[in-house]
Symmetry: C2
Subunit: 249 residues, 2 copies
DNA sequence: CGTAGCTTTGATGTAGGTCAAGAAATGTGG
DNA sequence: CCACATTTCTTGACCTACATCAAAGCTACG
């Protein structure tokens, strides 16, 4: 309220995340802030988007976590990724007009709807923003590939450790995590659905990591006791999160 | 040679594939054909693209198969997808300027290099082409997600059956497969690397499918004995391959 | 025609699944 | 602020799908 109506600092997780990738101008921030305007709440457990839907809009998460998943004919489900504040939900459904998985809030969520029109408008106003958003989309894809690698070739212990480290790195970008750990609203059952494990086994592995003095996940709080040790156990290489972005918009 | 220099029919696997998604004009075909000009051979087993490379060009496969994969610190590897004639290799490395996995020919391959410049040029000449190419990219992504689901939630038998059916559906689009089966240059070891299984186990599962009278994979030839039965076993739903494409370029 | 890669098969081991039940935590209504 | 309900966590006993290791037969190719 004090001073001119120009934003020079990130005022949302999204802005914060994109800033980590490229310097944004006051104008960029203003456009971002405008996009991120129309916030509304979503209840935990009620799908925000579902498979087959051809939607014209995407959501930007302001607070809370969601997960994207696919259901199998057999009834099981596979979580493809989690979304945290600053992440897009259904960005592909805008860029590609197709949604091939469901998205469900894990916690209560506030998110802003962004229509295709608004997004393209914003891109035209500041092409840098388009680049930044494509960078985010590309990073999301890289994460999916890394999850594929986890499911195909990593042991249960490696998977769990890897997930904790990935979430940590992502949350850090939006100021929701520090060196010691982070608040994690996931249930062990959700982690299992993401890691291709049963909740019982997730529980055992978590207990094991605790006993080994590597990390603790209790009462919705992840704490790293031996970060480097955990990295070693997971075979975690964060290159896939830090890649260079698209130069082409 | 005979008649005017205008192409009205697909003259490459890529053109054939895109045609299945949207009608293309003679002009579109000409542009495509031009893009697909500079063909060159790649030897089996020698990486075409590798991780970390920030390449300015992509390849379109004219003949042969490749696989994209990631290596783990532990030495194992996870194949993310196979590419068949008509597919792009490293399209993301053009669109996003980053390559986060390696690509290796599975067989001898001929492919045309397409530079970023040529691609964007082509897009400007015929925006329909841009749409079609984005459709292909989006389909690739959907496949990666489906592979993730396989690794996370399907049994070995389901995975193998699913892979055979996916390859069949994809090859069909480019005329390399018919109702009865297709030529498959993959080794069981490669299939294992894609499916998160050992080659021994792939072998046993393949034997099992054979004994059950569902499908045979021998001497580089996949033959379906009971297609519907195989679909049932795999829980195969080809929706992810047939999705509507991007309306936005 | 020998050697290297691929397939096939067998014997044995184990990571993680399944099923079940009790303990904690969390939430809800009064 | 407490009683009750619900979800989540934890643990145990048992089981199975797939891995591991090993070796033999097959192709194919230089």
């Amino acid at each position: 309220m004090a001073g001119p109506n120009i934003r020079t600092l990130p005022d949302s997780p999204l802005a914060q995340k994109l800033t980590a990738f490229m310097a944004l101008s006051a104008g960029d921030f203003a456009v971002l802030s405008n996009i991120h305007r129309r916030r509304r709440p979503f209840a935990a457990g009620v799908d925000m988007v579902h498979q087959g839907q051809t939607n014209q809009s995407t959501y930007v998460i302001a607070s809370g976590w969601t997960c994207s998943y696919k259901l199998l004919p057999s009834g099981g489900r596979q979580i493809v990724d989690f979304q945290i504040p600053g992440d897009f939900v259904g960005l592909r459904s805008v860029l590609f007009r197709t949604m091939d998985h469901n998205v469900q809030p894990v916690t209560a969520v506030t998110a802003s709807e962004v229509t295709e029109h608004e997004l393209l408008d914003a891109f035209q106003q500041t092409p840098r923003l388009a680049t930044a958003v494509l960078w985010a989309a590309s990073r999301d894809e890289a994460m999916v590939v890394e999850h594929l690698v986890s499911l195909g070739r990593r042991s249960a212990r490696e998977r769990v450790a890897h997930l904790l480290l990935e979430l940590h790195a992502r949350l850090r970008l939006v100021g929701l995590s520090d060196k010691s750990g982070f608040a994690c609203p996931l249930s062990q059952s959700l982690m299992g659905d993401a890691l291709g494990l049963t909740k019982s086994h997730v529980n055992r592995v978590l207990g094991d990591l605790r006993k080994r003095g590597l990390a603790t996940f209790q009462n919705g709080q992840v704490t790293f006791e031996d970060y480097d040790g955990l990295v070693a156990v997971a075979g975690f290489d964060r290159a896939y999160l830090d890649h260079e972005g698209p130069l082409l918009a």
